[in-house]
C-alpha cells in the first residue's frame, strides 16, 4: 500500500530526493548531452557562463517536462512494475506539489534561457516543453500506437535548442540532428516496449507491441532503423560534417541495423529472455551518445 502523506491533519513537506526523482534524471542526462553537443558544434564561440546557463535552462526544462509527465501519468505509473516505485504512485509526494514543482520549474527554465541566451532558443524550449506535456503525454500516448513516432519530436529538440542558443538561428546540421533523434526514438522505445510489453498492456497504454502485435513491431523497428541509419550518415555526403563523423556514423549505424535485423526477423516463444531486444535498447543509448560526441569531435578536430 502507498505510504500516507499526512500524519493526522499535518502534511509532511516533500523530500527533495523525491522532487529530484520527478525530473527523470537519467532521461535528463541524454537531453543535456545532446543539447551540449548542439551548442558545441555551432559556429562561433559562446562565453562559458552563457553556454552553461543555456544548458542548465534546457536541463531544467526537461526536468519540468518529466515532472509534469509524472504528475499526469501517476495513475498509469501505479499499474506498471517499472514505474510503480516513482514518488507519486508510491505515495511519497502529493500531486499538487508535483504540479506546482513542474510548472514552476518550466517557468524558471524559460526565464533563465531568455536571460542567458536569446528569444529564439526560449521559444524552442517552450515549444518542446508544451509538445512533450500536451501533445505527447496528454494527447498521443493514451490514444495511438504512433505515440512514440510523433512524440519523439519532443526529445529531438535539445540539440536544436543548443545550436540556436549559441547562434540565434537555425541551420541544416541541427535540423539533421533533430531528425536523427526523431528517427532513433521509435526503434529505441519499441525495443523497450517489446520486453516490457506486459507492463504497458497492464497500464492500458497503446504501445505498438500491445496494439499491433510483436511481428508488426519488429518489422517497424527494422524499417525505422534503416531510415535512421540513412539520416545519421546523410550529413557527411551533404557536406555538413567531415569524415570523422561520417565513418563513425557508418560503423555505428551498421551495427544498429544489424542488431535491428536480429530483432526484426526473430519470433519468440513463452519464457523468452528477450536478449536481442535488450541488447538493441542498450546499444541505442550508447549509439546516440557516441554519434553526438562525434559531431562535436568532427567540428573541433576535422580530419
Amino acid at each position: 500500500m502507498a505510504q500516507s502523506l499526512t500524519h493526522g491533519e499535518t502534511a509532511l513537506p516533500a523530500d527533495w530526493r523525491d522532487l529530484f526523482a520527478l525530473t527523470k534524471p537519467r532521461v535528463m542526462s541524454l537531453v543535456v548531452f545532446t543539447a551540449l553537443c548542439g551548442l558545441l558544434a555551432a559556429p562561433g564561440s559562446v562565453p562559458p557562463v552563457l553556454a552553461f546557463s543555456s544548458i542548465l535552462a534546457i536541463a531544467l526544462g526537461a526536468g519540468a517536462s518529466g515532472a509534469l509527465n509524472q504528475w499526469y501519468e501517476a495513475g498509469l505509473d501505479a499499474k506498471m512494475k517499472r514505474t510503480a516505485g516513482r514518488p507519486l504512485p508510491a505515495g511519497r509526494l502529493d500531486p499538487q506539489t508535483a504540479l506546482q514543482f513542474g510548472v514552476g520549474l518550466a517557468a524558471f527554465s524559460l526565464f533563465l534561457m531568455l536571460f542567458a541566451s536569446n528569444w529564439q532558443a526560449t521559444l524552442l524550449l517552450a515549444v518542446s516543453i508544451l509538445f512533450y506535456v500536451l501533445v505527447y503525454t496528454m494527447w498521443l500516448k493514451p490514444r495511438t500506437p504512433q505515440n512514440i513516432v510523433i512524440g519523439g519530436a519532443a526529445g529531438a529538440f535539445p540539440p536544436l535548442i543548443g545550436w540556436v542558443a549559441a547562434t540565434g538561428s537555425i541551420a541544416p546540421l541541427p535540423v539533421m540532428l533533430f531528425l536523427l533523434i526523431f528517427l532513433w526514438t521509435p526503434p529505441h522505445f519499441w525495443a523497450l516496449a517489446l520486453f516490457m510489453r506486459s507492463d504497458y498492456a497492464a497500464a492500458g497504454i497503446p504501445m505498438m507491441p500491445v496494439v499491433a502485435g510483436e511481428k508488426s513491431t519488429r518489422r517497424q523497428i527494422l524499417f525505422y532503423a534503416v531510415i535512421m541509419a540513412v539520416g545519421a550518415i546523410a550529413p557527411w555526403p551533404l557536406g555538413y560534417t567531415g569524415a570523422l563523423y561520417g565513418w563513425t556514423a557508418v560503423v555505428l549505424s551498421a551495427v544498429f541495423v544489424a542488431l535491428s535485423v536480429q530483432v526484426g526477423t526473430r519470433t519468440t516463444g513463452e519464457g523468452d529472455m528477450m536478449r536481442p531486444e535488450k541488447r538493441l535498447f542498450a546499444y541505442s543509448i550508447a549509439y546516440l551518445f557516441i554519434l553526438f560526441g562525434a559531431v562535436v569531435a568532427d567540428h573541433w578536430w576535422p580530419l
Binding site: G8, L12, A14, L50, L56
Partner: protein
C-alpha cells in the same frame, strides 16, 4: 511500506528533518543562482560593450 492511520503519533522529528533539508537546499540553490545571474550579467555586458 506501511499505511499510517490518522491516530498514529505525528512524527515531529521527520517533519523538522524534511523542513530543514529543503530549507538548506533552497538556500544553496538561491545562492548559486545569485552568483550565476551575476556572471551572466557580466558576460552579457562584455558582449554588448
Amino acid at each position: 511500506m506501511t499505511e499510517e492511520t490518522p491516530n498514529e503519533p505525528f512524527d515531529e522529528a521527520e517533519y523538522r528533518r524534511r523542513q530543514r533539508s529543503r530549507a538548506n537546499m533552497m538556500a544553496w540553490m538561491l545562492g548559486g543562482l545569485a552568483i550565476l545571474f551575476f556572471f551572466i550579467t557580466i558576460a552579457k555586458m562584455q558582449i554588448f560593450s
